[in-house]
């Protein structure tokens, strides 16, 4: 193991800021893509529900017209 202590590990031989910043930003960018995908899925569920409600309303109206 190249580091003697946990503090050594954080400091990264003086390059800690660069190393940790790059890992943090990479995580944020990837997480944003995953989050956007999850949100899109949720909004699709809502849209599908609206579409089904509309179809049911239309079917009901058609039935009452034909009676």
């Amino acid at each position: 193991m190249p580091f003697d202590s946990f503090q050594d590990f954080i400091i990264m031989g003086g390059y800690g800021l660069y190393v940790w910043l790059s890992f943090f930003l990479s995580f944020v960018v990837i997480a944003l893509v995953a989050l956007e995908t999850a949100i899109a899925r949720k909004s699709l569920r809502k849209k599908s529900q609206q579409l089904q409600n509309r179809q049911q309303r239309l079917a009901k109206r058609q039935r009452s017209v034909s009676q």
Partner: protein, 245 residues
């Protein structure tokens, strides 16, 4: 082979396949990235020249490689969409492009952050950096074109053509460090000779590479599922699928 492939032209069949594979790829992503990143950050030895700053390589190189790999995949899908008019291939374009763009952003960001302590600058207009930036613009262009038309299939065709034209940028990125005198260093592992990196650093790098490959596939699969559902919203199977969870 065609008999095996043909059923996947049906969107629901593709959806079911992706649904079955996704958990495995997601698990592989978490395992390989956890092992690779922890190994690279904490257990790989420091570089004799760059000290610990080189540890950025464990993100930078995989992100850069798969920013190009994702583009190649998107272009192949574009070709399939144009030649065989397979809808799921068309829909995979907007599934791949944002993931590829994110990987490109990661490669550019980590590169800039690595460049500051090693080169003394965040950015130079060197051939490698500039061509990778063009890759980001190509991704953005493909996404913009895809959604720019009222008719979705016209948009898909336009985006497919742009993705195929943009393939020319991939060899330019790869060979930029040989063709031009760049500040960016030459290839470390993507060449025919022995990798110019110590084995103790190469192994965690290869694990990170696998991790990014699985990550790319997982994210694309998640987005492709959405894209299929978006187009099949009126169909009962899609409605049932969305009600499930």
């Amino acid at each position: 082979m065609w008999r095996w492939l043909h059923p996947y032209a049906k969107p629901e069949a593709t959806y079911r396949l992706v649904e079955k594979l996704l958990p495995w790829f997601a698990a592989l992503t978490f395992i390989s990235l956890a092992v690779g990143v922890i190994w690279g950050l904490a257990f790989a030895p420091a570089d004799y020249q760059q000290g610990d700053s080189y540890r950025i390589i464990f993100l930078h190189v995989p992100a850069a490689i798969f920013s190009m790999g994702a583009y190649a995949g998107m272009a192949i899908m574009g070709g399939i969409a144009l030649i065989w008019q397979i809808k799921t291939a068309e829909w995979s374009i907007p599934a791949i492009a944002p993931v590829g763009a994110a990987l490109t952003v990661v490669a550019l960001l980590t590169g800039a952050i690595w460049g500051k302590p090693m080169w003394g600058t965040w950015w130079v207009w060197d051939a490698r950096l500039t061509s990778e930036l063009i890759l980001l613009f190509l991704y953005i262009g493909v996404m913009a074109l895809y959604f720019a038309f009222d008719d979705a299939r016209t948009g898909a065709k336009a985006a497919a053509i742009l993705s195929l034209v943009g393939v020319i940028n991939l060899p330019i990125i790869h060979y930029s460090v040989e063709w031009w005198n760049t500040l960016h260093q030459g290839a470390t592992i993507t060449k025919f000779e022995r990798p110019s990196i110590a084995t103790s650093m190469l192994i965690p790098l290869l694990i990170c590479l696998a991790g990014f490959l699985f990550l790319t596939i997982s994210l694309v699969m998640m987005r492709l599922k959405n894209e299929i559902l978006r187009h099949e919203l009126g169909r009962p199977w899609a409605q049932q699928e969305l009600e499930k969870n």
